[in-house]
Symmetry: C2
Subunit: 507 residues, 2 copies
Amino acid sequence: MRCGKKESAVELPQPAALRADSREHAVSKQEIVYTAMRDAILGRLIPADTRLPSTRTLAQRWGLSRGTVEAAYDRLGAEAYVTRVPGSGTHVCAVVPDRYLMATGTAPGHRVAALPVAARQHTLSTVVSNRGTLGEVGVQAGRPFVARLPDPALFSLPSWARHMARSLRRVNTDTLSSADPRGLPQLREQIAAYLRTYRGIVCSTDDIVVLTGIRHALDLLARSVLRAGDAVCVEDPCYPAARRIFAQAGAVVIPVPVDQEGLECARLEDHPQARLVYVTPAHQSPTGATMSVTRRLELIDWADRNGGWIIEDDYDSEFNYLNAPLAALKSLDNSGRVIYCGSFNKSLFAGLRVGFALVPAQLKCPLLTMWQTSGRSVGVMEQLTLASWMQDGAFIQHLRLTRRAYQARRDMLLAVLDANAPGCYTVSGQHAGFHFVLWLRAGSDEASFCARAAAAGLSLQGLRSLCEDVRLAPAVIVGYAALTMAQVRYGAQLLAQLLVQPEGEAR
Amino acid sequence: MRCGKKESAVELPQPAALRADSREHAVSKQEIVYTAMRDAILGRLIPADTRLPSTRTLAQRWGLSRGTVEAAYDRLGAEAYVTRVPGSGTHVCAVVPDRYLMATGTAPGHRVAALPVAARQHTLSTVVSNRGTLGEVGVQAGRPFVARLPDPALFSLPSWARHMARSLRRVNTDTLSSADPRGLPQLREQIAAYLRTYRGIVCSTDDIVVLTGIRHALDLLARSVLRAGDAVCVEDPCYPAARRIFAQAGAVVIPVPVDQEGLECARLEDHPQARLVYVTPAHQSPTGATMSVTRRLELIDWADRNGGWIIEDDYDSEFNYLNAPLAALKSLDNSGRVIYCGSFNKSLFAGLRVGFALVPAQLKCPLLTMWQTSGRSVGVMEQLTLASWMQDGAFIQHLRLTRRAYQARRDMLLAVLDANAPGCYTVSGQHAGFHFVLWLRAGSDEASFCARAAAAGLSLQGLRSLCEDVRLAPAVIVGYAALTMAQVRYGAQLLAQLLVQPEGEAR
């Protein structure tokens, strides 16, 4: 892969922001260095395999402390723009396709960024010969270790009630009769501001459509984008509801394998009938892999060359336990081929039923026609309350609180497993979201492990039950976000016992 | 039609309820007589064309005042079970098909009833040779005379806010995570109770599915009931969104003409591929015709014989300005072929986004699968608030208030028209709902009348723009519910001027 010792031929100019008084800027010096380097990589000013200047050299050139440059390089490393090997320096590893540079459309400008590729402790490409026959496990909230659920107990109802009461006092009859299928402008504005600040996406109020959740978005998109005979490529393994929605809309659904870098985009070339690709780049559902920058650019390039569309399901990216805030695939989308979908049902509570899509200009009309015909869905009072709550900063505060809580639950879970079943398993995808993948010992029987867990009161979903054609090593999905610390501790001890126990002894 | 002078051969026994102390019963003596007679007609104990005993005779036989029997007969007349002609007595006119008597399934028991056939001042069957080319007029709230909109200013926000705050104080985390695609049981219970009491429908909490509105129901039903090649029969003229939803779901849409008795059910025999019939029996959208009992029974018989389904869109039946509360087509459904759809978006305010469907057992599974896959949609807080508000009696109070307000607006509108343009028009469908049909003078050009109205600031929809194949006399849809009295008065004066003005003089 990486062969070079050649250093960057281009000497990057010192970013203007570093010359000005840094107090004028909301962003840190570290952020400026990170952004300058990332843009240089995405703009191919520094091509793949090039060695970056050492931290000492760059710190001297740009008049910074070495620590600042170190931190920026670390973040570039975490997001897979560069690889850092002690002794041999920092090398660019993101491959930027030609067309990415030529693409026009809505230029992301300075906000382009990409996601951390998290610590991975297992390769997904391990192939096993037999596939588990376990069907999908029914979701039962509050039981260890159901995935994809937030903890509603962390949601501050009194704060919500205050905003609701305030919104009701101010509402007028025009708003009560609101017929805009895109949703209320107040809420769309707050969502757009959030996406700009926290997801690195250049967008405006007009680009947002308020929906009832990601599944609603997938349903509308499938029905408005696809024509007879069109195929949809989904990840393998995949979020099962997505697969069902596309099939229900009459699409041919093609599973494309996922490895530790996310969707194997090269395989898309085998499917000329594919018009839509559905991905979960931040925290692949279910494997937890984060899609690498190279793959992200490859995917956008595919869409660009084929007039295809990409749906980015950003279902739990608010919960990233690494340092850097995650930027979306959409933030790299120069040519308007990515439809970004997000949901408050994951970050607040499942019964809220408010989500949204960021829809490229070309798709807005068909989507809204479909949407208006089949009926507006989100109540105006819920929309007003959410807008007021977000504007007040309560959303960011809530995310901070829940992120800390979920991280503590994850840490406890991993600590108990490590103390009680060391060497009996590995985990991956634990850097973000509501769940991770726990890989069983080679040769384990996934279905019988899940059955033993169920007998012990644990709800584990086998990874293979979510696979279509791909063969993965035996593993289970472990959700932890919706559990109390006591439930986590208790559940983790049971799980550790099962991991330690030889299979024959069950039950 | 009616030929006979023969009197009922069967002497109906005195209803048991009349023998008991009437104070034990919530229902009046008049209600008991009405119910006994109606059930005897529906049970063919008194066949069509039979003359009922005179009011004097029956009053003597059953020990009642003649006034009580008169009132019961009047109501039977208003609901088209009988015709009353002074001098020749009261005759049964409802034709009950054989199969209706044999049908089993969910027996409606004592709650069978039917709807008033309102005063009709115009026959819809008038055929005109040329069809207006005017497209659908865009809806613009608050402008005379946009139809299908309630007045949100009549909605008591403080009362709603109280129930919302109370619901938020009581909500638990299980409810916040609620995953039942049918909706919260609290709300379904309230809806079922309302339907039992006010719409004459025998149903339970389990039969109700909470949705975001009628269009949402139509969309889900079309997608879960229809198979490739199935056709849907819709009324002609029809509620345009319904036609679009069925077409969007891939169905063949067949327009079936509507006359003053509603859908011409005999025509259904011409369409063996029809699997679903969509009707608005209470107040046909747009003509305002109320479907006669005979037609209702014919329609149910068609569904029964053909394994077909009927969707009853009961969009504005809460607003009936005659004495008797309207009973639904569903209340006659012996064999579970009718899917009843209602909406609070019409009775409360358009931005609420809560509606519901009453789904026969056989369809529950496919509908809920479709629904669960494409995503739950109604927020739990909205559901809890609505349930609490209904339980408190606020819904019935709100209906009473709005019914009075809309009736006053309708009365004012009709009075101004009558005073300023007598003889220049007729109206129909004014007994219920948010709009009526105003028939122009024979030979008038509907499209140019609408254009003249638009120039004067009035938003009128031409009836022919809602017709597919049928040819109706020139008419316009006049909505009044969402207007203030001042707007009604002003708009009616303008409308009267246009009606009086010879067409050549415009503009």
